[in-house]
Amino acid sequence: MRSLNPACKFIALIIVTIVLAGRRDPVWNTAAFVLSMVLILASGVRPKTVLLLLLPVALAALGMFFTGYRFTAESAMPVRSDAFLSGDSHLLNGVTQASRVLAYAGLGYLFALTTDRIHMVRSFHRQFHLPQVFAYGLLAAWGVFPHMAMEYRKTKAAFRARGIHVFPLSPSLLAPLLVKSVRWSDELSVAMESKGFSAAAKRSDYAPVKVHLRDWLFLIACCVILPLASILTGN
C-alpha cells in the first residue's frame, strides 16, 4: 500500500467509501474493515498504534450499534420508520450501522497510515494540479502542528508563572495561541521565500510522482470491479 501513488489511492478509497455508502450490507462493511486492517498491518504499522487508533472508533461503532438497535419499526417516530431503517431487525440494523463506522474508519486509517505526507502533497500537486503555494504551505503548516500542543502548555505555564489560574480552552489562553499561529505563518512564509520559493515560479522536480501499472490496477479494482460487483449482487 505504501508504494501506491497517493492520488490514485485517494480516489480509489473514496470510490470504495461511496460504494459502501450505497449498500446496507454488514458483510461488505466488515470485509472492508478487515481488509483495511490486514493491509495496514502488512504495511508495517505497529499493531499497538492500530489498536490505540481503533479505541475511539470502537466507541463510536458501539454508539451507532445501539442507535441502530433502538431505532427500529417499533420506535415511536413521527414519520414512517421504513425511511430510517437499514435492516429488518433490531440486531441487523445495529450491526449495519456499527460496521459502517468501522469500514469508514478502516479506509481512512488505511490512507493515513500508509501514505507519506510529503509524497502525498507532491502527488496531489502533480496529479490533481494542486497549486504549489497551497501544497507547500500545507506542508509547512504540518510542521507547525506538533508544536501546537506544546505551545498550549507553554501559554498555560505563562499564566501560572504570574499566579493566574486559567481554565482549559478559556479565551485568555487561546488568544495568545491565535496570535502566535499568525506570527508563525508570517515567519514561515518569509523563510520559504528566502529559500527561493514563490507561488508562480517553476521548480525542478527531484522525484516526480508517477502513476504506475500497479496504481492503474488498484484504481480499476476499486473504481470498476467493486461498483460492478455491488450492482450485480444488488443489495
Binding site: A161, R162, G196, R203
Partner: protein
C-alpha cells in the same frame, strides 16, 4: 561589489515612525562584517531589506534604496533573490517547511531549479561542508537549536548565494557549535568568495574570522569601521558592545542566603525516547543567585520547562516543601519563569497590559507600569502588541514583567539572549537586585560563562545528563 544603502528610510507603520532613517553605508563583499548595536536599533530590519524580504512582506521604504551587487533585491523574484543573498534567521524553529533535513535541502534545490540529477551530489556536499552528514535523514523537530542552525547553514551552502546575511545566528546555541559554524562560514567566504554580513551582539565567536565591525545606533550606521583583528576594549565598551572575555562589573548587593525554597531530588526527564536528564539533585536557597551552564541540547531549557509544568518528569521537585505537581491554587505563581523565547510568556494584549498583569494586585499599578516601561525604553510602544516588538525589546519586556511580579523563586532561561552589553548589564543588575532585595532564589541559564562568573553566587553545569556544581577555577 557590495551591499549599499543609499539614504534609506524604512518604517513598519506610520504611527511608530521610521526604524531606519537616512541610512547610508556600504558593506564590502571581500570582508566578513559583523554589525552590532543596541537592541531595537534596526539591525535585523537592515538585513531583511538587504535580503529583499522587506518591504515585500511588511513595512514601507519611504526614501532611498538598497542594492546588493548592483541589484535591488526587493525588485527581484524570490528565486533570483535567494541566489543573490541568502538569509539565516534568529529563530531556528521557524525556518523550515519540510519534515526531514534531506527533504528541506531538496526543497531548497528544487526552488532554484537545480537539475534533479545533481541534487543528491549537492546535498552531500552541503551536509559535508557543515559537518552534519549524520543528520541527513533526521526529522527537523528532533534537532537541537544548534543542529537546526547548522541545517539552515547547509541549506544556504546548497543554494550557494553570493551573500550570506545572518541574523544573530549564534543566539540560541552553545559556544562550541557557534565556533564550528563560524569556522565554516569563514571557509565559505575564503573558498567560495561569499560575502558575509552578520548581525550579532556578541563578538566572541567571530574573532578570528571577521574583518570589520560596524555599529548601528537609532536606525543609522555609525561612520566608524572597527578592525576586528585589533579591537580596543575601551572603544567597544563606549559603543555598548559586549567585550569578548571582558567582565560585566556587576552592581549588586552581597548575598544573604536564606532557607531552601526549591528542592530537586532524583529528577529524570525523557525526550524523544531517550533519557536526557537523570538523577538531578539540587537545592536552591532564598536570596542566592544560581547560574546553570551547559552545551546546547544538554537539557537546560528542558529542565526549566519540566519545572514550569510544560514537560513531564520523574522524581520530585518541591517548592517550599510542597510538590510542584500538586501546588494549591494560592501557591501558583510562587515560582516565576522567564522563558528563552519571550513570546512564550506573553499573556497581555498590549505591552502595557503585559506589565499590568504582573502588577494587578498593586494599588499604584498604572504609575508603576509607566515607570517600568520608561525605564526599559518601551513606553512609546505601550499600546501595541508585544509580538510587534523586536526580539531584543521582547526580551526586555518579558524580563521586566517578571521582575515586577512577586514570586519566591525566579527561573530564567537565557535572560540576556540577543541583548547588547548595556542591556545585558541592565537586565542582570535588575534581576539580581530583585533577588537580593526580595530574598528570591534566582536561577538563570546562560551560554556566557563570563556572565555566570560575574553574577552567580553558585554555578551549576549540566554535563553527561546530570547537574553538577562547578568550582570557579574550572570555569
Amino acid at each position: 561589489m557590495g551591499i549599499i544603502f543609499d539614504g534609506l528610510e524604512f518604517s513598519y507603520s506610520g504611527e511608530l515612525g521610521p526604524v531606519l532613517s537616512g541610512l547610508d553605508g556600504e558593506f564590502r563583499k571581500d570582508e566578513i562584517t559583523v554589525l552590532t548595536g543596541t537592541s531595537g536599533c534596526g539591525k535585523s530590519t537592515l538585513l531583511y531589506l538587504a535580503a529583499g524580504l522587506y518591504p515585500g512582506s511588511t513595512g514601507a521604504v519611504m526614501k532611498g534604496r538598497v542594492t546588493v551587487d548592483g541589484n535591488e533585491p526587493g525588485h527581484l523574484p524570490p528565486q533570483k533573490r535567494c541566489i543573490l543573498a541568502g538569509m539565516m534567521f534568529q529563530n531556528p524553529d521557524l525556518q523550515f517547511c519540510m519534515d526531514t533535513v534531506r527533504n528541506e535541502l531538496i526543497f531548497c534545490l528544487e526552488n532554484i531549479q537545480t537539475e534533479p540529477g545533481e541534487i543528491d551530489k549537492k546535498i552531500r556536499e552541503a551536509l559535508d561542508f557543515c559537518g552534519i552528514a549524520e543528520l541527513e535523514n533526521r526529522t527537523l523537530i528532533t534537532l537541537s537549536g544548534g543542529e537546526k542552525q547548522k541545517v539552515a547553514l547547509a541549506c544556504l551552502a546548497a543554494i550557494n548565494p553570493g551573500w550570506l546575511l545572518l541574523d544573530e545566528p549564534f543566539a540560541n546555541i552553545d559556544e562550541e557549535s557557534a565556533r564550528s559554524i563560524a569556522e565554516r562560514l569563514g571557509k565559505m567566504h575564503s573558498e567560495r568568495g561569499t560575502g558575509i554580513l552578520a548581525v550579532d551582539h556578541r563578538l566572541d565567536s567571530w574573532l578570528g574570522i571577521a574583518d570589520t565591525i560596524r555599529v548601528m545606533e537609532d536606525g543609522k550606521l555609525l561612520p566608524e569601521s572597527l578592525d576586528a583583528r585589533s579591537l580596543d576594549p575601551e572603544k567597544l565598551e563606549s559603543l555598548g558592545i559586549i567585550v569578548p572575555g571582558g567582565s560585566y562589573s556587576p552592581d549588586i548587593p552581597p548575598a544573604k542566603p536564606g532557607d531552601t525554597v526549591l528542592e530537586l531530588s532524583g529528577i529524570e526527564i525523557m525526550q524523544g525516547g531517550r533519557t536526557l536528564l537523570r538523577d538531578v539533585n539540587a537545592s536552591f536557597r532564598r536570596g542566592v543567585i544560581y547560574a546553570v551552564l551547559g552545551q546546547s541540547g544538554t537539557g537546560k531549557s528542558t529542565l526549566f520547562s519540566a519545572l514550569s509544568g510544560v514537560l513531564p518528569y520523574g522524581g520530585e521537585a518541591k517548592l517550599e516543601g510542597r510538590d510542584i505537581k500538586h501546588l494549591r491554587r494560592s501557591d501558583i505563581g510562587k515560582m516565576g519563569f522567564i522563558t528563552q523565547n519571550p513570546q512564550d510568556q506573553f499573556v497581555g494584549g498590549t505591552v502595557r497590559q503585559e506589565i499590568l498583569t504582573s502588577l494587578r494586585k498593586a494599588p499604584d499599578a498604572a504609575e508603576r507600569s509607566e515607570e517600568i516601561l520608561r525605564r526599559i525604553k518601551l513606553w512609546r510602544y505601550r499600546d501595541i502588541s508585544p509580538y510587534m516588538l523586536s526580539q531584543g525589546q521582547q526580551r526586555r519586556l518579558g524580563t521586566a514583567a517578571l521582575i515586577a511580579y512577586d514570586c519566591h523563586c525566579l527561573v530564567c532561561d537565557e535572560p540576556t539572549y540577543a541583548q547588547d552589553r548595556r542591556n545585558t548589564i541592565a537586565i542582570m543588575d535588575a534581576l539580581c537586585r530583585q533577588a537580593r532585595e526580595k530574598n528570591i532564589a534566582l536561577i538563570f541559564s546562560t551560554h556566557d560563562r563570563q556572565l555566570a562568573k560575574d553574577y552567580a553566587d553558585e554555578i551549576l553545569e549540566i554535563k553527561e545528563g546530570t547537574l553538577h556544581a562547578v568550582t570557579e577555577p574550572g570555569l
